[in-house]
Symmetry: C2
Subunit: 384 residues, 2 copies
C-alpha cells in the first residue's frame, strides 16, 4: 500500500490515541470529553476550530491562497453496549462501548488534521467535522440546523466507515446509493377493552394487528419493482397485561429500509393506507406515524475518491460494484446538501461485525483512512 | 318474598358483618383475618369447624339423627382492585376490594349457619364451606386436594353468586351448563434475532404471530358446531424492544371459554395444531402450553334448588332458561365430584357489574340467599 510516510511515522502515537478513545466511550450527543480531547490535539497541531451542533466540532485549515471549501467528516459517538473484548484498552464504562469504530474514525481524522497542518500550500479551505450522535441521535441534523451549509459554501464532502468483512487493503466506493434510508413507524391500534369472555362487547384489536403484520409484507412484493431494494420489518408488538382481559390498545412498531426515495414514498403511503384499511375493517382506531430517520446515502460524485483510493491500494482493490448496505448512516443528510461520497475501508476479513460486543477497530486502517483523506484532498484541492 | 323470619330478624347484625368484611378485603389464598372472623362467629353459634385447603374453613352441623351429608359453599376472597365507591365502609386497603361480592356470600353463609344452629332436628350432616382463592387462585382445588370428598361422602352441594342485572327477587338456576370453562394458553414463538435490515439472516417471528392470531379465529366458525358456545380471545402479544432489531421471541397469550367439555377438547387440539402449522410454515419454534383453569360449571341436579327458590320468590321469578355466563367459577370443580347446582341471586337491576371499582354487594340479598340455602336444606334433608 502507498501510505503517506508522514502519517505512517505517527502510527505509535495514533494507536495510543485510538486506544485511549476506545477506553472512554461517550454515547449520543454527550461527546463532551471526546470533544475536549480532540480540541487539545488540534491546539497541538495549530488548527483552529469552532463548536457546532451539539457537542460536535468543526476544525478549519485554510490554505495559503483563497479557493473553494471542502469538508471531511468523522463521527465520535459510541454505543450502549457492554464490551466483551477483554482488550487491555477495553471500555472503562459498563454499558458503553465503541462497537462501531467511531474511536477509529476520530483518530483517522486527527491523523489527517495533523497532515494538513503541515501541508497548507493549497488554494481554499478544508473543514474537518468531528460529529456527535451518529447512532440514531440526529447528530448530523444538529450540525446542519446549526448552519454548517450557511456558514460555509461547501463544494464537496467526504466521509468513511470501517467495514468488517473486507481486507485492510480494500476500499469500497459506490456509485449512487451506498447505504439505505431508515424510517421508523408506530401504529397504535385502539379498540375497546373488556372481558375475554365477551369479545362482542369489546372492539378487539388483535385481528387488526395480524392483518397489519401480514399486509405490510405484501407491499414490497406487490407495489415495489423487483429491481428495487427495500425491507419492511415489524420489530415490536406490545398489548395486553392479563390473560382474561382484551386490551384497549396494542402498539406495533417497525423499520423500513430503501435505497431510493420513490420507493420510500411508496412504502410510507402504502403502510398508511393499510392502517386505514384495518381501521375500516375492524372498527378500531389506527394511529399511524411514519418517522423518516435517515435518507438514502447517495454518493453523487465518487470519482475523486475512487482515484484517491486507487493510488493507495491499487485499482483492483477499489470495489465500486458492491451492493449498498441496508444499514443507514446520518452522513446521508450531508449528501442532500452538497456533492461528495462516503467510502468503506476494510476492517479485516475476520473482524467481528459492527455493533457486536466483541468488535474492535483495526488500528492499521487509521493509516489507510488518513492517507485516503489526504489523497482526496490532493485530488480535489488545487495545490500551489 | 317469603323470607325466613329468624333470618330476617338478624338483618341489622348481618349488614354490620357484611360491611365490616367489605372494609377488610383479603385476596387469593391469604384470607387469614376473614377466616378468624368467621371462626369467631361460628364459636358464637356453637358450630364446630376444621381448617381445610389453604385458609379455607369447613364448618359442620350434625342433625339430631344420622343421615346423608350435604354441603354449601361460600367464597371469601376479594380482588386486586382499588375501590371507588366512596361508601362509609369502603375498603381500608388501597388496591384491594370486595368487587365480586364474596363479602356478601360469606355473610349469607354465616346467616345460614346461625339458622342451622337453631334447627338441628334433621337426619344427617350439613357442611358449610368457606372457601379462599376463588378468583383464579385455585382455592377449590386446594380444598379438594385436602380431601373434602374423601373425608365426607357428600351427597350433593349447593352454592350461589350475586348477579348484577337481575332484580333482588329473581333467582337464576340453569339446567346443565351454568358458567363456562376457562382455559389459558401461552404460545412462545422463537425465531432468530437480527438487524431489521437483514430479515433474511433472521428467523422472523411476527408473520407466525399474525397467522396464529388469524388462524385461532377460524377454529370456532370452522370446527365448532353453530349450536355450541365458545370464545377464543387473544389477550396479549409481547415481543421486541428496539425499532431496528427483529426479536428472538414473541409471546402470545389468550383465553378460551366453552360450555361443553368436547368443545374445550377440540379447541385445545386445534390451537396446538395451529402452533405446529405456523412452526412448519415459518421455521420458528412454537412452544404451546394450554392450561385448563376451570371446567364448565354443570348443574347436574338443580331441581331441589328450583323448588326452594320458588317458595321464596315465586315460580315466575325463578329463571331457568337464561343463557349460561361465559365467565368461569371454580365451584365447577365441586360439580365434577358430586351432584348439585350453583344459583345466581339478583343483585339489583341497576347494580354495577362485578369486578368494577364501583360495585357493591346488595345487603338485602343476604336474606334471600340465606333463606334460599335454608329452603334447599329443608328440601333435601329429612326433617325430624
Amino acid at each position: 500500500m502507498n501510505l503517506k510516510p508522514e502519517i505512517e511515522a505517527c502510527f505509535a502515537e495514533l494507536k495510543d490515541i485510538r486506544q485511549y478513545l476506545h477506553s472512554c466511550p461517550e454515547v449520543g450527543l454527550e461527546t463532551v470529553e471526546t470533544v475536549a480531547f480532540v480540541k487539545n490535539k488540534l491546539d497541538d497541531f495549530g488548527i483552529s476550530y469552532e463548536n457546532i451542533g451539539v457537542n460536535s466540532l468543526l476544525a478549519k485549515v485554510d490554505g495559503s491562497e483563497a479557493g473553494k471549501t471542502i469538508a471531511f467528516r468523522a463521527d465520535m459517538d459510541a454505543l450502549e453496549t457492554t464490551e466483551e473484548t477483554g482488550l487491555p484498552y477495553e471500555s472503562k464504562v459498563v454499558g458503553r462501548m465503541h462497537a462501531c469504530g467511531h474511536d477509529g474514525h476520530t483518530t483517522t481524522m486527527l491523523a489527517f488534521a495533523r497532515y494538513l497542518a503541515d501541508h497548507r500550500n493549497f488554494k481554499g479551505t478544508v473543514l474537518l467535522l468531528f460529529q456527535s450522535g451518529e447512532e440514531g441521535f440526529g447528530g448530523a441534523l444538529k450540525v446542519i440546523e446549526d448552519g454548517l451549509f450557511e456558514k460555509y459554501d461547501i463544494d464537496s464532502m467526504f466521509g468513511l466507515h470501517n467495514w468488517p468483512g473486507y481486507a485492510e487493503n480494500q476500499i469500497v466506493i459506490h456509485h449512487g446509493a451506498c447505504m439505505a434510508s431508515e424510517d421508523r413507524f408506530d401504529l397504535v391500534i385502539r379498540g375497546k377493552s373488556g372481558h375475554a369472555s365477551v369479545p362482542h362487547l369489546c372492539v378487539e384489536p388483535f385481528a387488526a394487528v395480524a392483518d397489519f403484520i401480514k399486509g405490510a409484507q405484501t407491499i414490497i412484493p406487490r407495489k415495489i419493482s423487483a429491481h428495487d431494494k427495500a425491507v419492511i420489518s415489524i420489530t415490536q408488538v406490545h398489548g395486553g397485561s392479563a390473560y382474561n382481559i382484551i386490551p384497549d390498545e396494542v402498539i406495533v412498531r417497525g423499520n423500513v429500509r430503501t435505497t431510493a426515495d420513490d420507493v420510500q414514498d411508496t412504502i410510507e403511503e402504502s403502510l398508511g393506507q393499510l392502517a386505514k384499511g384495518i381501521a375500516t375493517t375492524y372498527g378500531v382506531e389506527a394511529e399511524f406515524t411514519y418517522n423518516r430517520k435517515h435518507p438514502v446515502l447517495i454518493n453523487s460524485t465518487p470519482e475523486p475518491a475512487i482515484k484517491a483510493a486507487a493510488r493507495i491500494v491499487g485499482e483492483e482493490n477499489v470495489l465500486t460494484n458492491e451492493l449498498p448496505a441496508m444499514g443507514s448512516e446520518d452522513y446521508a443528510f450531508y449528501m442532500q446538501k452538497t456533492k461528495g461520497c462516503f467510502a468503506w475501508i476494510g476492517n479485516g476479513k475476520d473482524s467481528a461485525v459492527i455493533h457486536n460486543s466483541k468488535y474492535d477497530f483495526n488500528d492499521d486502517i487509521i493509516l489507510v483512512g488518513a492517507t485516503f483523506f489526504a489523497e482526496i484532498f490532493e485530488e480535489v484541492m488545487q495545490q500551489v
